[in-house]
Every structure is written in C-alpha cells, then in structure tokens.
Symmetry: C2
Subunit: 219 residues, 2 copies
Amino acid sequence: MRVVVPFDAREPKTRLGSVLDEAERHELAERMLADVLDAVTTSLESATVDVLSTAPLGRDGEHEHEHERDGVGVTVDDRPLSPAVDDAVAETVGGGGTLVVVMADLALATPAALDRLVGTDGDVVLAPGRGVGTNALVVRSPDFRVDFHGASFLDHRQEAERVGHVETVDSFRLSTDVDEPADLVEAFVHGGDRTTAWLRDRFELVVDESERRVSLARR
Amino acid sequence: MRVVVPFDAREPKTRLGSVLDEAERHELAERMLADVLDAVTTSLESATVDVLSTAPLGRDGEHEHEHERDGVGVTVDDRPLSPAVDDAVAETVGGGGTLVVVMADLALATPAALDRLVGTDGDVVLAPGRGVGTNALVVRSPDFRVDFHGASFLDHRQEAERVGHVETVDSFRLSTDVDEPADLVEAFVHGGDRTTAWLRDRFELVVDESERRVSLARR
C-alpha cells in the first residue's frame, strides 16, 4: 500500500489570506502536513508514504528533519494535482497495489479515521469533503482517473461507478479540510497537536451568542 | 430507548433568511424533519420517538399525517431547548432508559450514521457539529445536564467527563446541520429524499472554478 499526500508548498492556503499573512499560511500548512503524516504513519505503519509536493519542502531545517525521521519520502512534482495523482495510480495500482490519497490540510485526521477509510472495501473508496470536494480516497482499480476540479466528489463518484464498486466513508474528521477562515475553528477545537498548538498561540475562541456562532479572534 | 428530535416550528432556520423567504424556511425545515424522522425510525425501530416542538406541527395536513403514519409523537414545549431536554433526561434516563437527542436539521442523517451513534458505548456519546455545536447525543447517565448555548460541544464534553465516560462519534453526516447558506450545498448533494427533492426544484449546483467553490443558485 502506498499513501500519497499532495501538498502545495508554493502558495498554500491562499483562501486563508484574509486572516493569515503569507508566512503564517506556510507555517500552518506545514504544521497541518506534519499532523496528517503523524496520523498516516500511525494508522498505516507498513505503507510507503510520499508527500507529493509542488516544491521542495522545509523552509526550516526542523520540518525537513521530521519528515526524514518518519521515513516519509518527498516527491517534487510541479504539475497540476490530477495528472500527478493519475501517475501514482498507474504506478501503484497498475502494479497490483493499493493507492491511498490523503490531502495535506486534513488537520483533524486521526489514525482511527484513516483506519476506517482503508478498512472499507470497494474498488474506490471516497471520503467526501465539505463543499463537494474529495478529501481522501482509496484506489484499488487501475482504470480509475482522478479529477480534483470543481465538484470533485460527484465526478469521482461517477468515475468510480464506471470502473467498479464505490463506497464512501462517513467521517467528520476527513470531511474537514482547512481552506477557509471558518474551517480554522474546527482545526482549533478538533485538530492535531502541532496545528492546535500553533493556532492557540495566536487565536482564541470567541462565542457570539446573538449570532449563535463561534469564531477565532487574534489574541 | 427514547429518541427526542427538537424542532423549532415557530421561526425555523432564521440564518437562511438571506436565501430563503419565511414560507420556504418553514417548508425546508419540515422536509428536513421528515427525513430525520425517516432515518431515526429506520435505525431505531423499537425506540419511542418524539418531536419536541416549540409549537404544534403541520402547517399543512400532509405533514401531520406523515408523522402519524410513522408512529412518531409530538410534544409541544415552548421553553428554551436546554431545560426541555434536561426534563427528557430526567424522565427517561432517571427511569433507567437511554435518551437519544437528534437535531431536526440533520438533513444528511442516515440509518447507518445513527446506528454508529447509538452503537457507541459511553455514559454520554456526542456527535460534534460544525462550529463547535452538538448535533446528536446519547445520554445513559441521569446526572448529565445539557447546555446548547455557545460552544456546546466543549461544554457537553466537559459535563460528560464530570458524570462518567464520554465518547464521540466521527460522522460527516451527523456533523452537518443545515444552519447557513453554505450548508445547503451539503444538503443538496448528500441529503435525504424530501430535502434534496425540495432543494432541486428550486436550486442548481454552480461550480466557480476560479474561486474553487461550489454553491447553489436559483433555477
């Protein structure tokens, strides 16, 4: 089994630009990636794990070192996500293996949630994301092609039905990718250790009773 | 086992006011309630099911009839949610039973998701909602008190730890309550039959590639 974790090392998390500056977006993205890799390597001990990054990782030595310690490889590929993942499908599933794709911004991912993902039978197993996205998937059919644009969950479900049997996994943790400011609340409350530590240094939870809404405010 | 489904029959879904008029908010809220009741009665066949409503149900005869057909009771209680649910805890759990609370706007709820909720051991089992809410819970300790204000998931988790062993259930379907316009996309794609039929009569899915966002637009 091979796990690929796509990561945008160039311009991560642009949609958080209204609340985080560029340096902060890089920092948070690397913390979330490290939390995802922790969950992946704990859940899938015997799997080969690769970060599929648009640029070399490690703006500071610390993070480069962490990835090495985990035995996680880094593949730099500056193409768009879909052809890069299709190549991984061809290599891994074409050779008889199983490919798992887990997005790098799933700050709430836990080993238990990933266990449910890979423990679900099906030629293709999809973890739907908020906003009709696809946040994680398991590919066991070499004929499956990905398309991460637009309403990708609907496209992936249709494509999966074309090639075989499709299942979905019902997980709040895997459905929550951290794309927009409202998602930071979820990461703050339910996220992995590095992500929550970073957020709690900078933000606090604010409850607006009249709006019946919880948000983050700078400390 | 008793299931209580709290429902605001007076001013449902006020935070959808920017996209739905008042009559539509009532219609959608009743469709979502009916879908939730379908999932509840399918999952928990032998349970007693009560809608805990702030006002009498059934603006039209059709829906009143549906609730009757399902063998679902309606309790009208115009108090705030927390004391009304606390009374249900005292009655049901104080008498040795198990109380399950499922919010009426969980349009994505399925029997399988509810099976996982009630199949999880613990004195209190919580299904976290987006925005630090609590969308469903199982109460097996008579000492537990609810508080649905503010960051209710954190308050409920703390209270549950006080009275015994707490577990959470990791479900995208149970985490998604339909409160704000962005939630309508989730209901449109993943919702129950009545909810999706109602939404699809009025809206269509629009993919904005540049914003990398999927939303609903009026037909």
